[in-house]
Each structure stands twice: as structure tokens, then as C-alpha cells.
Symmetry: C3
Subunit: 216 residues, 3 copies
């Protein structure tokens, strides 16, 4: 139980850090001001966990019991803002934008993987361990929730709809974490496997632009 809590905490913090960076970067790109950047950073970070806890009936959501989540997310957003300001003064070439998009995508993938794992684990902690479908679904929704909220608020088509194999990466990570956990594998391995598989699938799909058919 202590180990479970520890693993859960590690994954949650990883997700918070990664989504804060990703949300703040998007807000900078959208030219929001400092508070807009902080707000989008915080909301895209807390969104997934709040949705997860609401779906489980854990009210008030866990994030409300720990001010450090919001504090860290806000500080990271400020840091992203400061770096962006510095970089934008020095260099204005087009290459930067391309690199930033790729960087943002990597952090988004890490957040996706980390929160997916927390969603599966939270469902199991709530006694739904035997319901594989519930645990995996909740993992996926937790993983994609914050990003969907972030994209909808910044008037962008949600990544899960347009990006290559976004939801699929979360599904793979969730299944792997759940299956290894049920097999009584060391939880640290479950965590690594669930997260890394999500991130790798997501990045490979993006890098090789794994083509999926379109109707038109």
C-alpha cells in the first residue's frame, strides 16, 4: 500500500510537471499574457485528475487537498513564460517554432502516459480492480482529460481527434499497466512500462507520421 501510494504520487507529479509545461507553452504560442499562461498551465494540469476523481465519486477531488499541485504548476508556467520571453528576444527564426512544437509534444506525451497510469491505479484503489474495462477506460479518460480541456479552452481541435494515434497510445499504456499489475509484477515496473509504452507509441506515431486512412 505504501509502495502503491508512492508510485501513484510519482506518476501524478510527472503528469503535473509535463502538462504544466505543455499547457503554458501552448498559451505562450497563443500570445496570452502572463496570467493567461499560468491559468492554462494550471487548468490543463489539474483537469485530468479532477475528471478522474469526479468519475470515481472521490469528492472533493484530491487536488483540492494539496495546494502544492497548483503552486508547482503555477511556478512552472511562470518559468516557461520567462524562458519564452528570453528566447523570443534573441531568436526569431522559423526553425524555433518547429522545435518548440516538437518539445511541447514530448511533454504532452509524458503527461498523457503519467496521468493514464494514475487513472488506472485510482480505479483499482477504489475497489474496481476486477473490472478491467472500467480501470482501463478511467485511465484513458484521466490521461486525455486535461489535454482535451486545454485544447478546447484555447480553441484548438483536441489532440485526440486530429493527432496520430493519441488515444491509442493511452489505451496501450493503460492495458499494459493494468495487466502487469494483475500479474503481481513489481509496481515500479508497472509504472515504467505503462508510461514508457504510451510515450513511445505516441512519439513513434508522430515521428513516422504513421498514416491512418481518411474517408476523403
Amino acid at each position: 500500500m505504501d509502495l502503491t501510494n508512492y508510485i501513484f504520487g510519482v506518476a501524478e507529479w510527472l503528469g503535473i510537471i509535463a502538462f504544466s509545461i505543455s499547457g503554458a507553452m501552448l498559451a505562450v504560442e497563443r500570445r496570452f499574457d502572463l496570467f493567461g499562461v499560468i491559468t492554462l498551465g494550471v487548468i490543463s494540469t489539474l483537469g485530468g485528475g479532477i475528471i478522474r476523481d469526479l468519475l470515481l465519486g472521490q469528492t472533493p477531488p484530491r487536488f483540492f487537498y494539496n495546494y502544492r499541485y497548483v503552486l508547482v504548476s503555477a511556478l512552472i508556467s511562470v518559468a516557461v513564460f520567462a524562458v519564452a520571453k528570453r528566447v523570443s528576444g534573441k531568436n526569431n527564426s522559423l526553425g524555433i517554432g518547429e522545435k518548440l512544437l516538437k518539445l511541447n509534444m514530448i511533454f504532452d506525451a509524458i503527461g498523457l502516459g503519467a496521468f493514464t497510469v494514475t487513472g488506472v491505479q485510482a480505479a483499482m484503489d477504489f475497489g474496481h480492480e476486477k473490472n478491467a474495462f472500467l480501470c482501463i477506460s478511467l485511465g484513458v479518460i484521466t490521461g486525455i482529460g486535461g489535454g482535451v480541456l486545454r485544447d478546447m479552452m484555447s480553441q484548438r481541435a483536441p489532440a485526440i481527434l486530429v493527432k496520430h494515434i493519441y488515444a491509442v497510445a493511452a489505451i496501450i499504456g493503460a492495458i499494459l499497466y493494468y495487466w502487469l499489475f494483475i500479474m503481481a509484477i513489481d509496481q515500479r515496473i508497472c509504472l515504467m512500462a505503462g508510461m514508457v509504452s504510451t510515450v513511445v507509441v505516441r512519439l513513434l506515431a508522430s515521428h513516422y507520421r504513421w498514416g491512418l486512412p481518411k474517408a476523403y
Copy 2:
């Protein structure tokens, strides 16, 4: 009680099928790839029921206990995608687009009617039978919830705001279902009356473009 469950199940399945088709069609039109089509189909289908259960305090929402909902919704989305691909190869005239919009609207109306009924019934099952306002409101929110989510995610102004008499159709269906149920009418009749009235009002309003005033 068995009959109630049966009626509830029928309405829920009808809503799932209709909203899957409607969501997937919209995604095809927006030129999302195959996974985007499946994702929007599934989300617009499950959105209404998840919102309904969250509002009632039924956590985790019922959809998480039944993988068949997601499976059927995903399969229907794939089928819509396949048909769209086939049709788009053969025929590219403008008339098709017009007809598809109308078809999409019909399925959306059926989903609206079916989910509205499940919302009213779920509220009554939870012991709120004497609170007419609650039952009817919950019916309307369940009916419109999935569609609102679908439209917001695909960056379209929600149908309830711009389409002729959208929310009103759900209100009429919810009132009719509630009222007939309270009058102890056979539930199969309640279901038909609630659903059909919603669909008919919605389609009539759309066909005759029942004009509502605008301020400008």
C-alpha cells in the same frame, strides 16, 4: 421493475447507435482520420450518459460497467467511416453533402429523444420521482450533453444554440415521458411518446425552418 430496466436499456441502445452515427459522420465531414472518427463517435455517444450519472451521483457512471457500449459505438463509427470512403470515391457532387447533413440531423434527433428519456427515467429510479423539475431537467441535460460535447470538441457552435428548436424538442419529450409515467401509463407507450415527440418536433422545426426572431 424489469420492464423499466428493459425500456431504459432499449432507449439507451437507441441513443448509443444514433449518436455514434451522428458523431462519426461529423468527424468524417471534418476530415479526421479513422481514429478521430472513432473517438468522436464514442465520446459524443457516452457524453450524455456520463453527464447524467455524474449529476445523479451514480459513480462510476454506468457506461464503465459495460464494455459493449464502447465496442458497439466504435464499430458503428468504423462502419460510418467505411461507407463514407466508398461513397466519396464514387460520387463527389454537391447534392450528397446536403443529403448527408439531413441524414445526420435525423440520427442526432433520435439520439436526442432516446437519451432524454433515459435521463428522466434515471432520475426517477434514483428516487426523485416526485420532483418533476429535477426529472425533466436531467432528461434534457442527458439528451443534449453528448451533442454539446461533440460540437465543442469539433469546434462547431453547439446545436442547442443555433439550431431551430433543439432544446425545446428535448423539453417537450421529457415532459411528455414524465407526465405519462406519473399517470401510470404502460411504459412502452411512455417511451414511444417521449422519443417520438422529441424527434418529430425537432424534424418539423428543421424542415419548415420554424422561424424564431433574432434581435438583429
Copy 3:
């Protein structure tokens, strides 16, 4: 306790009235028809309170027990529509649009302040009085929730992201209300202080265009 209920009720009604006007005005500007105006007025009004109650685990949300909230919100929306129709016939100069935006902003600020206070109070009523972070966060989310929903539904970037010091105004009001309440100050004073501080900070920031840095 009676006084608490009274204060809570006053703030809630103020928020309902203010957000109904603000939501309906936005819908008129977007050229929605009469039902679209009513729908956006009602949703932006009830959104904040429903989100608040869901986060607290108060299901079904309190709004479902009182049809008068919806009724008043709908009537106000109709009134806004009627006034807009009358004004638009008489005067079509550009100056009007500017003034309306300012008026809309004032009502939005009042709604923000009022709902923020109800969020803090609701969290305390639920026994979370000693958790300052939870009470204040819930206040802020309740305050901004309806507006975020309104803006996302009308395809506008949410005010909290782009407007000068929007979330900050809610945070200040929430902290002030919570702190005065804990100091056992007369609740009528807490209410006034929490609301007025939010509205004043918001309006001052808007009027003087308190500049916040942007990264680019």
C-alpha cells in the same frame, strides 16, 4: 445558520441575475435566435453552481431542486433579447457596441464575485472550513465555471485566459471572504467585501488596462 443561508441565497441570486444578463447579451451579439439566447443565458448561469456542487459531491446539484433559478434566468434572457431588439431598431451606430461590451463586462464581474462567494461558503458548509486552499479554490472555480462554459460554447476564448486579471479578481475575493469569515466577522460584511473586492479589481484592471507582460 439562518444568516448563512440568507447570505448564500443573496449571493446566488445576484450571480444568477448577473450571469443571465451577461450570457444573453453575448448570445444576442452572436446573433443567436430567441431560444439560443435563452439557452446560453441559462447555461452560463447554472454552469458555475452545477460545477461547484459536482466538485463537492452534492448530487443532484442544488439547482435541480429549485425551478425558480431556471425560470428567472430564462425570463431575464427574454428581457435582454427584447431590449436588444428595440435598441437595434433605433440605433445602429458603432458607439452602442462599445457601451454594450462595457455593460456586459460589469454584469460578468458581478456574477464572478457573487458565485465566487457562494463557492467558498458551500465548501465551508460541507465541513471543509479548516482547509483554506480547498475553500478558496472551490470559490474561484465556481466563479469562473459558468463563464468558461459560456465562452467555450459560443466559440470565444475564455475570459480567464485573455482578459486582464480575471482569475486574480476571483482569487482576491475568495481569500477575503474566507479570511473575514474565519475571523468571525459579520457575514453580511464578508459577503460585501468578497463580492465588491472581486468586482472592483476586475473593473479597475479592465478600465486602466493594467498591463501584464506577454512573452512575444
